[in-house]
């Protein structure tokens, strides 16, 4: 760690991990509700559990992205953060607002929450993933603007690297597209149309720039490969990402009432979205193979390579599975979507945040380069446990989805939704078991921060 102010990232990372735990617990509750319908009812109804599960994911990833930015921007810009106090202040505002929102979901009925927060004045609630009360959304905008100001000023006064500029572009896009959360037209087609400008243009657009920039930073730090080589790849990857991702938004416009040409545009361009992910995999492994040094933080390198592979599989391959309009005609809104969503979010965004935490946290806790061998070994166990169980969650949901599509939509005698849900219950049980193993991995991950603290750092020889 070169600059004192990079340390503000620590709070963000700790909060991110804490919320991650909450997300997984609610995921498990919901997974159980798939097979035991009244599990924890009426305290935690399914719709509330789902809302908490998805909202926590988004919020903790945002904490992770902000932490990553606060850590890497000063180091890339070679200057202290513009205003560390602002970063600390915004952290507490964001955490309190986030916690209050989640408590609101859990403690009062959603309609009451809408009344309490005066949703009538500027109605924005009630839409999937954007369930937050309007006042929380305004809070998110304030936090995002202060954050961008802080990061932007730091970049302006320091060295301007490609990594920083791509990151800033991604973060700006994140803030700009979130503004469409406030646009709530009464026409349902228009509503859905612009809703995707937040949801899709985040995860299949600007977030990928953030992913690319963080990955590039970690690769520069851990492999010692020339910055110029890594930057060239980064340019081409983000160009492909934006071209395919932006027009690829069309794969959400097939059946919502948008013009028909979107079936062609959406199919063709979104089918190309795996390409930049594939390029990212090739480049990550290439850079590690061409490394000029063996970095002793093996765990961080593992997460970085892991994210490249899993993002390609989850976002690329599993996305392609159901992106073509004629296929999506049958698979739309089935468990296939859930399978894709799980592996894509884990592979692309969870793992990159964990990679950054893995790289930066030891340095912020006073280590020279990395944690002790024992701590790293435990972290790598957690990597494999979480990653493999996520692969199984994805496979079980894919199995459930294929069966669901067939029984409910494709066979000669299509069955009702709930009848089909009963028939695919076995897959839901298996998914829940895989989810429990994921939780074990997560517990190990957290434990890895506390073991081997008094032991010396792993060295390259030991880490080899």
């Amino acid at each position: 760690m070169k600059y004192e102010s990079q340390k503000v990232a620590k709070l963000y990372f700790i909060a991110a991990i804490g919320l991650f735990v909450g997300q997984i617990l609610f995921g498990l509750i919901m997974g159980a509700q798939y097979v035991i319908g009244d599990f924890m009812f009426p305290e935690i109804p399914f719709n509330v559990a789902r809302m908490v599960h998805t909202n926590l994911l988004i919020v903790w990833l945002l904490f992770g992205f902000m932490g990553a930015a606060y850590y890497l921007v000063p180091e890339e810009a070679e200057t202290e953060l513009f205003a560390p106090w602002l970063a600390n202040l915004m952290f507490w505002i964001f955490l309190v607002a986030g916690a209050a929102t989640i408590l609101g979901y859990l403690l009062v009925p959603y309609a009451t929450l809408a009344e309490l927060t005066m949703n009538d004045m500027l109605p924005t609630m009630g839409r999937e993933f954007l369930e937050q009360p309007t006042i929380t959304k305004i809070g998110i905008v304030i936090v995002a603007l202060s954050f961008l100001f802080n990061i932007g000023m730091t970049i302006l006064k320091g060295r301007k690297t490609v990594v920083n500029l791509v990151l800033l572009m991604g973060l700006t896009g994140l803030a700009v597209f979130f503004l469409f959360a406030f646009y709530n037209p009464t026409n349902l087609v228009m509503d859905k149309y612009y809703w995707w400008w937040v949801v899709h243009l985040w995860v299949e657009g600007v977030w990928e720039l953030i992913l690319g920039a963080i990955l590039a930073f970690i690769l520069i730090k851990t492999t010692g490969v020339d910055r110029e080589v890594i930057e060239k790849w980064l340019y081409i990857i983000i160009a492909m990402t934006l071209i395919t991702g932006i027009i690829g938004t069309g794969h959400h416009y097939y059946w919502i009432g948008a013009p028909e040409f979107w079936q062609w545009w959406g199919s063709i361009f979104s089918a190309m979205e795996p390409i930049p992910f594939f390029m990212m995999t090739v480049y990550a492994f290439n850079m590690v193979n061409k490394r000029r040094r063996n970095h002793p933080n093996k765990a961080a390198v593992l997460w970085a390579l892991g994210t490249a592979v899993m993002a390609f599989l989850g976002a690329g391959v599993w996305g392609f599975l159901h992106t073509l309009a004629p296929v999506n005609y049958y698979t739309h809104g089935t468990q296939i979507t859930a399978a894709h969503g799980h592996m894509a979010f884990y592979g692309a965004y969870v793992m990159i945040v964990l990679a950054m935490i893995s790289y930066a946290m030891p340095l912020m806790r006073g280590r020279e380069a990395c944690n002790s061998a024992r701590s790293q070994s435990m972290e790598m166990w957690s990597f494999w446990l979480m990653t493999i169980s996520m692969v199984f969650i994805t496979l079980f949901l894919t199995g459930a989805g294929i069966l669901q599509v067939y029984l409910q939509r494709f066979s000669d005698n299509p069955m009702d939704f709930m009848v089909v849900q009963d028939k695919i219950a076995l897959f839901y049980w298996l998914r829940e078991i895989a989810g429990l193993i994921f939780l074990v991995g997560l517990v190990l991950y957290i434990a890895s921060f506390f073991v081997g603290k008094s032991e010396p750092e792993a060295t390259v020889e030991l880490a080899k």
């Binding site: 060239k232 790849w233 340019y235 081409i236 160009a239 492909m240 013009p259 028909e260 040409f261 062609w264 545009w265 063709i268 361009f269 089918a271 190309m272 390409i275 390029m279």
Partner: protein, 187 residues
């Protein structure tokens, strides 16, 4: 100059070119399959296209590609100024393409044609417009290369940038060479 490097230009532009060709390839296949199911519709509306304009554009792009080749040859002879001039000539042909294509669009839009008019126009507008954007991107790349050439940034020993720009421009040309017969001529 003797040892010719393969592929010419930067490797990364070739990854980009391959990805671009893949997208256009998929789009052309989609066109072909859809046309097979609506031959009459496609034949009818194909007649509303301006084949002469497209022919002029074909010649403009081929000529510009030739100029780009001359630009690469010039820099191989260490002649930066001549390289710059050939690139300007290529860019001029690019402008000709954009103007002619723009006039075609104006004609169609004046008749109220849009992406939802029918399947043929959907393909015609999509394919030509994506190609149109590529011509613009190719020109931006050529302008960057030309400015660097004018400033003496390339030499007979180091001209990767010129080859990189040229490779991309030839791709833009190549795509049109398929697009023109496929959409305008073939019946």
């Amino acid at each position: 100059m003797e040892k010719s490097k393969w592929p010419p230009g930067d490797l990364v532009i070739w990854i980009f070119i391959m990805a671009e060709l893949l997208v256009f390839g998929v789009f052309f296949s989609a066109y072909a399959f859809t046309r097979a199911n609506h031959v009459e519709l496609f034949n009818t509306y194909q007649l509303t296209l301006d084949r002469n304009a497209a022919l002029i554009n074909t010649l403009a792009l081929i000529t510009s590609s030739y100029f780009v080749v001359r630009a690469v040859a010039a820099i191989r002879n260490d002649n930066s100024q001549r390289c710059f001039h050939w690139l300007l000539a290529a860019l001029f042909m690019g402008v000709v393409f954009l103007v002619v294509k723009g006039a075609e669009y104006q004609h169609h839009f004046a008749h109220g044609v849009n992406l939802s008019t029918n399947t043929f126009y959907m393909f015609y507008l999509s394919l030509t417009f994506f190609h149109f954007l590529h011509v613009i991107l190719g020109m931006v790349i050529l302008i960057a290369v030309a400015l660097k050439a004018k400033a003496g940034g390339y030499s007979a020993s180091e001209y990767t940038g010129v080859e990189t720009g040229a490779s991309y421009w030839h791709m833009v040309d190549l795509v049109w060479m398929v697009l023109f017969p496929l959409v305008y001529v073939m019946r």
